[in-house]
């Protein structure tokens, strides 16, 4: 860019919000938590795409890829995370989403956490986590990708 940044480029840089996909994998029908989080992230200035209930790993990866999100948030209360999360991570990788930040929330026993983190899930937020903590985590860890290309 010649000389200093123009107002246009500065404005563009400022107006690029973090894009987040909030997904509910599997068969539990409880999406209050997902919706509350979606709302909190919106209020923090992020673009949130909420895909609704009963998402398969394929659907989640497809949505994350097409929407070109920076962050995928998985909400699960059914207990099937050990089954579904590895599949989701595999599908995300297959869709070419290696740099996306994946976080999870819901009912996930402490003993399962190390295994899930080893899969590449950056953080797991249990019930009662302050929303601001999740917002802060995303802000600190979301990849900034437009500039690197």
């Amino acid at each position: 860019m010649a000389k200093q940044a123009t107002p246009a480029t500065r404005r563009a840089a400022r107006s690029r919000p973090i894009r987040v996909l909030i997904a509910k994998p599997g068969l539990d029908g409880h999406d209050r938590g997902a919706k509350v989080l979606a709302r909190a992230l919106r209020d923090a200035g992020m673009e949130v795409i909420y895909t609704g209930l009963f998402q398969t790993p394929e659907m989640i990866a497809r949505a994350a890829a097409d929407e070109d999100v920076d962050v995928v948030g998985l909400s699960i209360l059914s207990g099937a995370h050990n089954q579904l999360f590895p599949e989701i991570m595999g599908q995300l990788r297959r869709a070419g989403l290696d740099d996306v930040l994946v976080i999870a929330g819901g009912i996930i026993p402490k003993d399962d956490v190390p295994h899930l983190k080893a899969l590449g899930i950056a953080a797991i937020f249990g019930p009662g986590t302050p929303l601001q903590e999740i917002v802060r985590f995303i802000r600190e860890h979301a990849p900034t990708r437009e500039s690197e290309e």
């Binding site: 123009t6 107006s15 919000p17 919106r42 200035g45 673009e47 909420y50 890829a65 290309e149």
Partner: protein
């Protein structure tokens, strides 16, 4: 970087998704890519789907996708959701209505916010639509809430504009006020199973008798988008509309008008950016003399215009 364009040209879906972000965010690469891909555009049928919140636009779009896929037409959707004026954030839920069509390779859905991206929504949507057109989609659907000037303009940026109305949103006077009636090529009265739907159809018919122009003979169709009732008719009317334009030789003129409107948007945006730049370097005396009434705003406005450097930012980068 050129690698991304190559992958796009090879039909790689992920490259399309990345490129859309570049174009949406006006990165220098995005602007350059837009220019390079432009010769590939002009084949897709651009369809605007507009109407008030809750009219069932997303459900109708899902139905149209299913119908189009039955005819082996590929479909891309740009689904626009409003942005919070406070935080600038947005929650986009249009995909929820389109779940069953999402795993189809011939379908691409992208959520777009109405955020002020250093300009209006319309130019960003146009640019993204060009990218989807260049990728080779047969139909490109632009789904927007039809309230407010910007969205009316979005309607003007499509080959075919469908206005979705529903019963229970006030009497015919409301639709007179809306200002979107004039731009509709097809009227859809959705939720036709609800009481009052026939009244909406009658109101539209009365309105049409009073109107001059395209909307005068725009078809009025009834649908129940949740069951799929009447959707086939809507797609037929959409495809027929473009065929009619073509056979009457109006498509060329309409396309020219649409692209000219896009160029005007971009020019306005570039001017506004430069105006901001000039304002930032405004001498303190000018500000002071405004306040002490020695200089009037109109005279200053003329001076500002004289100081514009009149060059397009994209060409400088």
């Amino acid at each position: 970087m050129t690698d991304l364009l190559e992958r796009f040209r090879a039909g790689e879906r992920r490259a399309l998704a990345r490129l859309l972000s570049h174009v949406e965010n006006r990165t220098p690469f995005g602007i350059q890519a837009e220019r390079e891909l432009y010769p590939l555009t002009g084949r897709a049928h651009l369809i605007g789907i507009t109407g008030p919140p809750g009219a069932g636009k997303s459900t109708l779009v899902a139905g149209l996708i299913r119908e189009a896929r039955r005819q082996s037409l590929t479909v891309a959707v740009l689904a626009v959701d409003p942005t919070s004026p406070v935080s600038g954030g947005a929650v986009m839920g249009d995909r929820i209505r389109m779940l069953d069509v999402q795993s189809d390779e011939g379908v691409f859905i992208r959520s777009v916010t109405g955020r002020g991206r250093g300009g209006g929504l319309a130019p960003a949507l146009c640019a993204m639509a060009h990218v989807l057109d260049a990728f080779g989609f047969d139909l490109v659907l632009l789904e927007t809430v039809g309230a407010g000037q910007d969205d009316v303009d979005v309607a003007r940026l499509a080959d075919t504009t469908v206005l979705v109305l529903v019963p229970g949103l006030g009497d015919g006077v409301q639709s007179l006020k809306a200002g979107t009636l004039e731009v509709a090529d097809i009227f859809v009265v959705n939720k036709a199973d609800l009481p009052g739907a026939n009244q909406v159809v009658r109101d539209l018919q009365v309105m049409q008798r009073l109107m001059v122009g395209a909307a005068e003979q725009a078809p009025i169709l009834s649908t129940v988008a949740t069951t799929g009732e009447g959707i086939d008719q809507v797609l037929r009317a959409i495809l027929e509309h473009r065929r009619q334009l073509e056979s009457h030789g109006q498509l060329t003129e309409r396309t020219q008008r649409r692209l000219l409107a896009e160029a005007r948007y971009l020019a306005l945006e570039a001017l506004a950016d430069q105006l901001d730049e000039v304002l930032e370097t405004l001498p303190a005396e000018d500000r002071a003399s405004l306040e002490t009434r020695q200089l009037d705003p109109r005279t200053l406005a003329m001076r500002l215009i004289e100081r514009l450097r009149l060059s397009f930012p994209a060409s400088r980068s």
